[in-house]
């Protein structure tokens, strides 16, 4: 037995102080191994074959010539692949996307649908054979045309109801002194994390083990166990380091295909997606067409607010981009109508992508607010402050903190907003027209049940085990700081182990809920552990371990509107002769609860804001009507902001305490992108006098819009 060494308060709390990543050195030296590069004895490599038609049936697969190629071990397709179970509801509350349940039938519902897996001794052999595999299709006519007037569109509930309506919209619009009625569009967008999706599956002593790159081991374990009708305890998923996820890294075709091949061949099989395959198989953000109607009194007070959004999904699975949801949090009006509708087309299933709903929704709503401010002759910030709701506009629930006005005030001060001349098209710097814009941001601050295990060791150190995922956010480091404070020790004495489903169920890294949910479980366990240690019985060699489960605590949380808020500011330069738009500076001020690690938090905010630059100016996946597939599905064709596109950019936050909240942490993973594109688009208007309501604001669109008439 060893003496207990806890209980002494640390000189400074760890939370709130900048800490470099605990695994930072491993990452920059290459010591950190990612899923696709962990060595396995006897490893075989699978390569997915994707359909080249957008709709039809597989007539035949010419496997024989491919099986004769060097190193080829097997070809799995719908005729010989193991059957899987798809009639279940997963952790995310929905049935599995049939895209993941590979090789179960001969139907092809979109271009890029997985039709076969070729397994070989080396990755190169597998790829060559996969590319040589001839698949014959019975091709059927496809429809990939996404238009705002599609007759087959229908409202679809998701984690929020499809439609909310209060008040008489037509009457309030008719009674409004000022009306804005505009349509906004956003294109198909893809996450493309730096690390492609990769999984290795093997059977080990009767257990299925998957080394993966995912956003939640619990999530993937649950899906794989259900799909393959296994006891969840007999499946282990590990995902130690993840090179970005952004919503795309749940269960996908490659993990399922790898498990199938490992089962058939009884040896480890790895399947890695190429960048181009990711465009078909990793999910994406649906394009949206949004109509916003605002009616206001002359002083800007909203009488009517309507936000209708249309997005698309595949023919095999329902997913909706709930862009109209953002108005349910942001602004109230006497008549308040919102609707999320979807249309099914012959395209891959979209999925969550950073700030699903809020990112495209805030573009439309916050751009419309800017148009209303112009029409009312009111400063855009004043307009928003005049329409601050005192309770949830749709729910009627109280806000658990709504520090949006403080964000605007601090942002306006630092950005120099007070000196702004509201008139557009007046400022010049050589060939560049200059303008500034602003927009509000919000994102939900939810929490989901998680478990954590904490062990006190005799040497005075502690180990935290939790099936969290660090997808580049710095979650491992954040949890180290949270645990250190909860245990009242310096962070050097805490080791946090994550990314292993054997650590017990936990929330995914998603929905800006990861750190809040995991920190809750870790703090709870730390409290219990300190209680145990306070008994003074000493620590046995195997340590003292406690386990927490936050299910009950989260269930007991009083209902409230819980969100992070923010104010985005941008200055842009536009050359209307060449169509070039460059962001010159950006500022984001956020109210996002307790900030755990200022260093990585700043990175999270900035990353979101930079993505907002991409969203406003660059990102757009182009679908070819004739083939139904993409054109330029790679990072040469699909543009994101480069360093040269990222200007002087700052993110900061204000105090946003919530004493009633057990953890006080809100999510910061998504809010950085929310409102960023609107602030840029509003700045482009201020520079040129032209409203660009379709993203991205490409040079051709700027050129065709012409020079300002002023």
């Amino acid at each position: 037995m060893t003496a207990v060494t806890t209980g002494t308060p640390t000189p400074t709390p760890s939370v709130g102080t900048a800490h470099t990543r605990v695994e930072g050195r491993d990452k920059v030296t290459g010591a950190a191994r990612y899923a696709g590069e962990i060595p396995f004895a006897d490893l075989a490599h699978g390569w997915l074959v994707l359909s080249t038609v957008a709709r039809g049936r597989i007539r035949s697969v010419e496997t024989a010539p491919v099986l004769a190629m060097p190193g080829v071990l097997a070809v799995l397709d719908h005729r010989n692949a193991p059957r899987v179970e798809t009639d279940y509801t997963g952790l995310m509350g929905s049935k599995p996307d049939p895209t993941c349940a590979v090789f179960q039938h001969d139907r092809v519902p979109h271009l890029g649908w997985p039709v076969a897996l070729v397994v070989a001794e080396t990755s190169e052999q597998a790829r060559e054979a996969a590319e040589a595999l001839v698949v014959h299709y019975e091709q059927q006519p496809h429809d990939v045309d996404f238009t705002g007037e599609h007759p087959d569109a229908y409202p679809l509930d998701s984690h929020m109801p499809a439609v909310t309506e209060k008040g008489d919209l037509d009457a309030e619009l008719a009674a409004s002194a000022v009306v804005v009625d505009a349509e906004y569009t956003t294109p198909e967008e893809h996450h493309n994390p730096m690390e492609p999706h990769a999984a290795t599956a093997r059977w080990d002593g009767g257990r299925l083990e998957v080394i993966d790159s995912n956003q939640g081991a619990t999530w993937v374990v649950g899906e794989l166990a259900s799909l393959f009708s296994l006891d969840p305890a007999s499946v282990r998923v590990r995902s130690e380091h993840v090179g970005g996820g952004f919503g795309s890294k749940g269960v996908r075709a490659h993990q399922v295909a790898a498990v199938m091949a490992a089962t058939v061949l009884q040896r480890p099989v790895r399947v890695v997606l190429t960048r181009r395959q990711m465009f078909s198989l990793a999910g994406y953000r649906s394009p949206t067409t949004q109509r916003v109607r605002l009616g206001a009194d002359a002083d800007g007070r909203l009488r009517a607010l309507e936000h209708r959004s249309l997005s698309l999904t595949s023919t095999v699975h329902e997913f909706i981009e709930p862009s109209a949801g953002v108005a349910r949090v942001m602004y109230d009006a006497d008549a308040h109508h919102t609707a999320n509708r979807v249309v099914r087309l012959d395209v891959p299933t979209p999925t969550w992508m950073r700030a699903p709903g809020e990112a495209p929704g805030s573009f439309a709503l916050e751009a419309a607010l800017d148009e209303l401010a112009e029409k009312c002759g009111i400063d855009p910030i004043d307009l928003r402050l005049r329409n601050e709701p005192d309770k949830g506009p749709v729910s009627g629930l109280p806000f658990a903190g709504r520090n949006l006005p403080a964000c605007f005030r601090e942002g306006a001060r630092r950005f120099g907003w007070a000196d702004r001349d509201p008139r557009p098209g007046l400022r010049r710097d050589g060939r560049w027209l200059l303008g500034t814009g602003t927009a509000a941001a919000s994102f939900g601050a939810g929490a989901a049940p998680s478990t954590a295990t904490l062990t006190a060791h005799p040497d005075g150190t502690f180990t935290v085990r939790i099936a969290a995922a660090d997808i580049g956010t710095g979650a491992r480091t954040a949890l180290t700081l949270v645990a250190a404070d909860a245990l009242r020790v310096p962070p050097e004495r805490v080791q946090v182990r994550i990314g292993d489903s054997d650590f017990g169920p936990a929330m995914i890294a998603g929905g800006s809920m990861g750190t809040r949910s995991w920190a809750w479980a870790v703090t709870t366990a730390a409290g219990e552990l300190l209680d145990r240690l306070a008994l003074g019985t000493g620590i046995p060699p195997e340590g003292i371990t406690v386990r927490s489960d936050t299910t009950a605590a989260i269930g007991a949380l009083a209902p409230a509107e819980r969100h992070s808020f923010g104010a985005q500011f941008a200055e842009v330069a536009v050359d209307t002769a060449t169509g070039e738009v460059r962001v010159r500076r950006m500022l984001g001020i956020f109210a996002a609860g307790r900030i755990v690690n200022p260093l990585t938090a700043r990175g999270q905010f900035l990353g979101g804001m930079i993505w907002g630059i991409s969203m406003a100016l660059h990102e757009e996946a182009v679908r070819d009507r004739a083939s139904g597939g993409h054109v330029g599905a790679d990072l040469a064709g699909y543009h994101v902001a480069t360093h040269a596109d990222v200007p002087h950019i700052e993110a900061d936050w204000i105090d946003d305490p919530d004493p009633r909240d057990p953890v006080g942490i809100k999510g910061i993973g998504e809010i950085g992108i929310v409102g960023a594109a609107a602030a840029i688009a509003n700045a482009v208007w201020h520079a040129t006098g032209v409203r660009h309501r379709s993203l991205p604001i490409r040079p051709d669109r700027v050129i065709l819009a012409g020079a300002p008439s002023a």
Binding site: R127, A577, T578, L617, A626, V631, T642, D645
Partner: protein, 330 residues
């Protein structure tokens, strides 16, 4: 990807001999385009002959006061060369406007000339493309073509040449030198790239098996007052949607000499001959610049989604000529 053989050549004659008449063999320079195309299956060579070690990595003055640039000079070294920067600033600017620092340190001058179009149909082997598979069709004409050609294209292919460097070289009357099994040869850059017509798969006039050994630039005092402006959809690391290389010599308010070439408008770097004709001897003013640009673009045949390029190129030509004139006047 297909397994391939790899050989490294140490001299020019040896490189040409190693390639021989093998249609399945390719010269490998920096590999910044060829290797990508091999990964995507657009190129499936059985054999690569690496020419990076050839003694063609120098930039030298010619006896008449021009420059000779070896084929294996990297883009990075070319852009940094003091004589290039002094005598042909638009060439240095063009090279620096392309790719990224890492790519420019690998990419070679010879390879830059021979790089392939980035048309999304050409780079996707699951789609038809007359350039890749002659006779299979050109889906870009009715499909995605917002960055495709407005000049010199045909119904068979509307792809654009991606090089920035070649646009500046075209403006400065570069000559391409090559070696074949039958000895050396040369082609003016203006004749190096073939018209599209109905043979978009035939891109250059190089004889089969020829190795590009270098480029010469004739002396051009006008080139000292030159510039390259590139417009792209982001600030860096993107191919042009329109570019202009221009050099201007103004005496007493009259255009004495002008060089003008356009990028991202055609299957090859486009020498703006008509514009040069209008400009030469005319008053150096905005009216002339606009008339010159309009004259060049009379031949433009935009597709439904790339008509903006006509406006863009007009604006860009006028802007660059105006800037050059203003600078010369200072």
């Amino acid at each position: 990807m297909r397994e391939f053989g790899y050989q490294r050549a140490s001299d020019v004659a040896g490189a040409v001999a190693l390639l021989g008449a093998d249609p399945d063999a390719r010269f490998l320079g920096g590999g910044t385009n060829l290797v990508d195309l091999m990964k995507t299956g657009v190129e499936r060579p059985a054999r690569l002959v690496d020419v990076r070690e050839l003694p063609l990595d120098r930039v030298e003055m010619t006896a008449v006061g021009g420059l000779r640039i070896g084929a294996t000079v990297t883009n990075g070294d070319l852009a940094a060369h003091p004589e290039v920067r002094r005598r042909y600033p638009a060439l240095a600017q063009a090279v620096l406007a392309g790719a990224s620092g890492q790519l420019r340190n690998m990419a070679t001058v010879g390879g830059n000339l021979l790089q392939r179009t980035r048309c999304g149909y050409f780079t996707d082997v699951t789609k038809p493309c007359n350039k890749r598979v002659p006779g299979s069709g050109c889906p870009a004409v009715a499909g995605e073509h917002h960055n495709h050609a407005i000049l010199g294209a045909s119904d068979h292919c509307v792809a654009v040449h991606p090089s920035d460097m070649a646009v500046a070289l075209t403006a400065f009357d570069a000559v391409v030198h090559f070696e074949t099994a039958n000895g050396p040869g040369e082609l003016p850059l203006a004749e190096f790239y073939l018209p599209v017509a109905d043979t978009p798969h035939r891109e250059t006039a190089l004889p089969p098996g020829a190795l590009v050994t270098g480029i010469t630039l004739p002396p051009a005092p006008t080139a000292a007052n030159s510039r390259y402006r590139k417009v792209r959809e982001r600030a860096s690391y993107a191919f042009a949607i329109g570019s202009v290389a221009a050099a201007l010599d103004i005496r007493d308010g009259v255009v004495r000499d002008v060089r003008l070439a356009l990028g991202a408008v055609a299957s090859r770097p486009w020498r703006a001959v008509e514009a040069e004709r209008v400009l030469t001897g005319a008053p150096a003013d905005a009216e002339t610049y606009a008339a010159a640009a309009d004259a060049e673009l009379t031949a433009a045949r935009p597709l439904p989604h790339n008509g903006y390029k006509v406006t863009l190129m007009r604006n860009l030509m006028v802007a660059v000529l105006t800037e050059l004139a203003e600078e010369a006047a200072r």
